[in-house]
């Protein structure tokens, strides 16, 4: 069973989203890191990048596969977690402690089309 914190919301592309004021933090879920396996590469788009829903905001790679992270909302990347690139394996051990970017939202509210923890749990078939 994967870890799915109640206070976060989730995208169909397996990102977790945390809302604080008008900012969201984004990372990949426990389920995602488990499916990908040993992560050996991670990068996040730099601060200052304007983003729209569905736009790539970062990437992770395991030995075998590459996968992108997508923005759930309109906004501008306010902070980018550069330390992930040096220790991508941290994402395997602490997926919810490893955020990729913080986005300053154009509209300060939960982005549309995100799932609650219970909905995500059903979505991944657990």
């Amino acid at each position: 069973m994967s870890n799915i914190p109640q206070e976060l919301r989730y995208a169909k592309t397996h990102e977790w989203v945390q809302l604080t004021g008008s900012t969201i933090r984004i990372g990949i879920t426990d389920h995602a890191q488990c499916e990908l396996g040993d992560l050996v590469f991670a990068e996040a788009k730099p601060a200052g990048t304007p983003v729209k829903p569905g736009q790539v905001i970062g990437s992770v790679e395991s030995v075998k596969t590459a996968s992108d992270l997508y923005s759930p909302a309109d906004g501008v990347i306010a902070a980018s977690n550069a330390s992930l690139a040096d220790q991508p394996e941290q994402i395997n051990t602490d997926p919810y402690g490893c955020w990729f970017v913080e986005i300053e939202l154009t509209a300060a509210a939960w982005p549309a089309n995100l799932m609650t923890a219970d909905e995500y749990k059903t979505f991944i078939g657990e």
Binding site: G37, F41, S62, V63, K64, A66
Partner: protein, 431 residues
């Protein structure tokens, strides 16, 4: 509907992550992960279920005359290979010289051989071999005495790979694996058990032998120790063991009855072989610079382009693909190591300046080198003619990434997520 191999239940028991591969359900990895499985094979011993591989038997008086026409390699020393029981690698080509498949020939006897082919190609290979046989029978003076049989579902195949492979087998033979060690060992039986390990230990690379399954499993056995190819039949208890593999390490492959495979698998695991999945199989073969059909070889890639010249005999008497293979290739397979953190993947474009000069055929993160590595098919004009002076991948992977080393190196770029990432040409194999 994907097929299960005879070891399907073993994989589930070990919590293997099952995926469909070439029509078979196989583990891509077990819970330990690809890197751990990869390193176990490089440093200790790993165990793979390769039962999906196809077995096509060719038999009859004209077996090798036919193979000489069917395959692009030199078979003029086949008598020696039969006598010394040595398997041979070969590429089977289309009339244009591109690859239908790459395969291993086990010359069982002067009138019988087993071709081990890729799972994804079994049906296409069988059709190709039959078509070539029909064509050959029309041209040949003698009526073709030739039987071609697809026996793929009659054999299971296990691959024990890694520097400690022989130790794993010794452990089984000495009854230390805690399995199949009967308390009432006769003196002859005890001696026989050590004799079979000695027999395997004496095998040279690519050599094979036959063993009675009961001895391998540590069961009582009174039959003959020295078996011949006639004993190796579907439904029998004779196992073909060869010193072969697809990892670049020492190791053994076992061909046996599907119903006997689970017991041998459990025996090898109990003796310390670590189960490894398709993921590690791919990263291991890639580091070893071995081609994978569908990537480095295909119906649009010739074995010359794939750098397999040493397995080709272009000037032998007529064979399928000869005309196509005699043309000078314009593309060449090269090895590339990342000079940064980028990881190349199959299909990514290779650039020289702003020119696209080829594409990656296989790419991965290399668990041995901790770097991205790739095999890529590129225009010959983009690389120097000979690669003898190229540095090893290990040397390149160890360069500190914060210094610009590109000056003394032959570099190309690979386009990854819209960026031209720097790579250096290196020797193949990568390890």
């Amino acid at each position: 509907m994907a097929e299960q191999t005879p070891l399907y239940r073993e994989h589930l028991q070990l919590s293997g992550k099952m995926v469909e591969f070439a029509g078979f359900l196989l583990p891509v990895q077990y819970p330990g992960g690809i890197s751990a499985e990869h390193l176990a094979v490089r440093q200790e011993a790993g165990l793979f279920d390769v039962s999906h591989m196809g077995e096509i038997e060719v038999s009859g008086e004209q077996t090798y005359a036919f193979l000489d026409y069917l395959l692009s390699r030199n078979l003029d020393k086949i008598d020696q290979a039969i006598a010394s029981r040595r398997a041979l690698y070969a590429v089977m080509c289309t009339a244009d010289g591109t690859a239908v498949d790459d395969l291993l020939i086990y010359p069982l006897s002067p009138t019988r051989c087993l071709l081990i082919v890729n799972a994804a190609n079994i049906a296409a290979d069988e059709a190709h071999i039959r078509a070539v046989a029909d064509e050959w029978a029309r041209v040949d003076i003698l009526p073709a005495d030739l039987a071609i049989e697809n026996h793929s579902d009659r054999w299971a195949q296990l691959a024990l790979q890694g520097p400690q492979s022989l130790q794993v087998l010794t452990k089984i033979a000495s009854g230390l694996a805690g399995l199949g060690a009967p308390s009432t060992l006769t003196a002859r039986f005890a001696a026989d058990r050590l004799a079979w390990v000695a027999q395997l230990s004496a095998l040279k690379k690519y050599q094979f032998t036959y063993l009675p399954l009961p001895l391998l499993l540590g069961e009582t056995y009174d039959g003959p120790l020295h078996l011949i190819s006639d004993d190796f039949e579907a439904g029998g208890t004779t196992v073909l063991v060869s010193r072969t593999g697809y990892t670049g390490e020492d190791g053994f492959e076992f061909y046996l009855q599907p119903e006997d495979a689970p017991l041998l698998w459990r025996m090898l695991v109990a003796a310390g072989a670590k189960p490894a999945g398709l993921g590690a199989r791919d990263t291991l073969r890639l580091e070893a610079g071995m081609p994978l059909y569908g990537h480095e070889l295909s119906r649009t890639i010739t074995p010359r382009e794939a750098g397999l010249d040493r397995f080709l005999a272009l000037n032998k008497a007529s064979f399928v693909g000869q005309t196509g293979l005699l043309a000078e290739p314009t593309r060449q397979l090269v090895g590339l190591v990342s000079l940064g953190k980028a990881i190349p993947r199959a299909g990514y474009l290779v650039l020289s300046g702003d020119q696209v000069v080829g594409s990656v055929t296989s790419g991965t993160f290399s668990p041995s080198l901790n770097k991205g590595i790739a095999l890529a098919l590129v225009e010959r004009s983009a690389v120097t003619a000979d690669d003898l002076g190229l540095p090893s991948a290990g040397y390149l992977a160890a360069l500190p990434s914060d210094v610009d080393h590109t000056a003394g190196l032959h570099t190309l770029a690979i386009e990854i997520r819209g960026r031209a990432e720097p790579f250096a040409l290196c020797q193949i194999p990568f390890i």
